[in-house]
């Protein structure tokens, strides 16, 4: 029975992995072959699409085209890097101190603010979209990267994640530092952040996944194509460039896969709410 469950889980994992497998194999299939097997889906047809897990005529053309002959891809890539980098840096400046303050305040007011934060976190983008648009337009940030960065710098999600990490820090550690002459900033910088770093990393990693793949804010707030991010761009599939689409998708998910791989342990530890050792 144990083995049955094991294989069921492996099977389910494999099914979940199928889109990635399709992307990886699709990169090495030529456009003509892709047209033949996906033509029914890409164009209007009555037949069914098929798939070759092993390409009939493997080619690296799609990879090379995206890497060497598609400057559009790199414009979007660097836009994504810029926006995500700025958001995460902004959150480190704004959200982490906020979480520290709220975690150590222990007042009714701070708990109330935390409750409001949690409520805001539950609001989907569609609900806040209009108010955000009006505010951003008044600030002349619409159709600029500022429209994407500014609202997310003040996102409640990293505050919520790092709040728990800061809350785990024993009061005795802070008191000891205070008795040793450390002021508030030193306690925050040299004591709180190192202790809660896994929580901060976890917030950063989760934030990276969310912002790297965000679609709605880009589609709503950015009109100028040259300011788009990778997440909203797909090459023209119908014009015989399906292979390029697969290569583009592969390069789009590579950073996310690596971040997940590199931060897998931190992510597990950081999200976990556990008791701190003194």
């Amino acid at each position: 029975m144990k083995y049955v469950w094991k294989w069921i889980i492996y099977g389910a994992a494999l099914v979940c992995m199928l889109p990635v497998v399709l992307i990886v194999t699709g990169v090495f299939i030529g456009n003509t072959e892709l047209q033949n097997i996906l033509g029914a889906v890409v164009q209007e047809g009555s037949s069914y699409a098929t798939w070759h897990f092993v390409p009939l005529y493997p080619t690296c053309r799609n990879l090379l085209e995206v890497l060497l002959d598609t400057p559009e891809f790199f414009v979007l890539f660097w836009n994504s890097v810029k926006v995500v980098g700025c958001i995460l840096a902004g959150q480190f400046v704004m959200a982490v101190p906020a979480a520290w303050y709220l975690a150590r305040r222990h007042s009714r007011m701070s708990k109330c603010v935390m409750l409001i934060y949690m409520f805001c976190m539950l609001l989907p983008f569609q609900v806040t979209m209009l108010s955000q648009y009006i505010v951003l337009k008044q600030m002349a940030l619409i159709h600029t990267h500022g429209a994407l960065i500014l609202p997310l710098v003040f996102s409640t999600f990293p505050v919520f994640i790092t709040y728990n990490s800061f809350e785990q820090i024993p009061q005795s550690v802070i008191d000891a530092a205070s008795m040793d002459g450390a002021d508030r900033f030193k306690i925050y910088w040299y004591i709180a952040i190192p202790i809660a770093r896994k929580g901060i990393y976890a917030a950063g990693i989760l934030g990276f996944f969310e912002y790297w793949n965000m679609v709605e804010p880009v589609a709503v707030f950015i009109n100028d194509k040259k300011l788009w991010m990778l997440s909203v761009y797909l090459p023209d599939v119908t014009s015989g460039e399906i292979g390029k689409t697969f290569a583009y998708s592969l390069f789009s998910i590579l950073p996310a896969i690596y971040v997940l791989y590199a931060g897998r342990n931190i992510l597990a530890d950081g999200i976990m709410i556990k008791g701190m050792e003194n």
């Binding site: 890497l67 060497l68 400057p71 414009v75």
Partner: protein, 342 residues
């Protein structure tokens, strides 16, 4: 220690990733820069199209004298052709000698009859009429005698150039002038044929440049008429000067401005769309991921008029502020991204 090594590995991978993508960014930009056609463009202009017609014309005398033959006799040979200079005494045609003899006998018989008729006629009016007829026939007999003495050859009685030849070999000699001989005294006429399609570019009163090896002058086009035999239009220009001589071939060049057209483009901007259709490619700004790029867009046009450099066109879709692609360093098709030459 192990954690530190792992952190270094992550940092190294991230740096390598960014370096590789940075390099690829540069290469892809360079590739695009090399592969994008660099074009020269211009807006349509309003202008008159100058049409230049050039060709070779023949100089002939302006003053012409008709040459009449004895009519109704078979002509065996014509010794001259149009454009040929003749001098007094040069042979022009050869009559059929036997026919001349027959004609002479007929005329002599007619003369005998006329004379006997006159002797029998009493009324003075009829006598006068018959007398005049006798004189006419006597002249004819004299003419025929002269021709028979000259063995049937008719000679030119003046210097000049054969400018018109109506008499043909094997035909009977004409009542009308057999030849028109041009002579000196009133200058020259340049005659030049122009094809029917160029007719609209020339009109009487236009100025033409006439050039010989020695001289070049401008003269006004005197006449323009249709030659129904050759199916061409012929222009005639009166020229005067000491540097011209009859029979000489001269270079004639005429320039005529068309009416003013609103939309004119260099011929290089026009493309053939097959089946007699033409189109131009205009630059259209498009907001793309790489910023504002220029896309080649096809606009169908109709050619109204053209010369060697420009064409006047009409199109409902072409605006005066549109920039039309005139030349490119690579082949440009509709939808291609292009760059303006700096």
């Amino acid at each position: 220690m192990r954690k530190k090594t792992r952190r270094n590995d992550i940092t190294r991978v991230v740096i390598c990733f960014f370096v590789i993508l940075g390099l690829c960014t540069w290469i892809s930009r360079f590739t695009k820069s090399v592969l994008t056609p660099v074009v020269e463009s211009g807006c349509p202009v309003s202008m008159m199209l100058p049409h230049t017609i050039s060709g070779t014309g023949l100089l002939s005398y302006r003053k012409v004298t008709p040459v009449y033959l004895y009519a109704g006799i078979l002509v065996d040979e014509v010794f001259v052709t149009v454009g040929q200079n003749v001098q007094k005494g040069d042979a022009l045609v050869q009559y059929n000698l036997a026919r001349l003899e027959e004609e002479k006998q007929d005329k002599e018989f007619e003369l005998e009859q006329l004379k006997s008729t006159r002797s029998m006629t009493g009324r003075s009016l009829e006598r006068e009429k018959t007398g005049a007829e006798i004189v006419r026939v006597e002249n004819a007999v004299k003419q025929l005698n002269d021709l028979i003495e000259q063995k049937g050859i008719f000679y030119a009685d003046m210097d000049g150039m054969i400018q018109v030849q109506n008499q043909k070999e094997g035909d009977y000699s004409l009542d009308a002038a057999a030849f028109m001989v041009g002579t000196e005294g009133q200058g020259y006429i340049v005659s030049m044929d122009i094809p029917e399609e160029q007719r609209s570019y020339v009109q009487e009163g236009d100025v033409a440049t006439v050039a010989t090896e020695k001289a070049q002058d401008s003269f006004v086009i005197d006449s323009l008429f249709y030659d129904s035999e050759k199916h061409v239009y012929t222009i005639q220009i009166v020229v005067e000067g000491a540097d011209y001589y009859a029979g000489e071939r001269v270079q004639v060049e005429m320039e005529h401005d068309s009416r003013k057209y609103d939309t004119c483009l260099p011929l290089a901007a026009l493309h053939s769309g097959g089946a007699g259709n033409s189109y131009v490619l205009i630059e259209k700004e498009k907001n793309t991921i790489l910023g504002t790029e220029l896309i080649a867009e096809k606009v169908n046009v109709k050619i109204e008029d053209s010369n060697m450099e420009y064409a006047a066109i009409t199109s409902t879709a072409l605006r005066t502020e549109d920039r039309v692609i005139i030349s490119s360093d690579k082949n440009v098709e509709e939808g291609d991204i292009v760059r303006e030459k700096q």
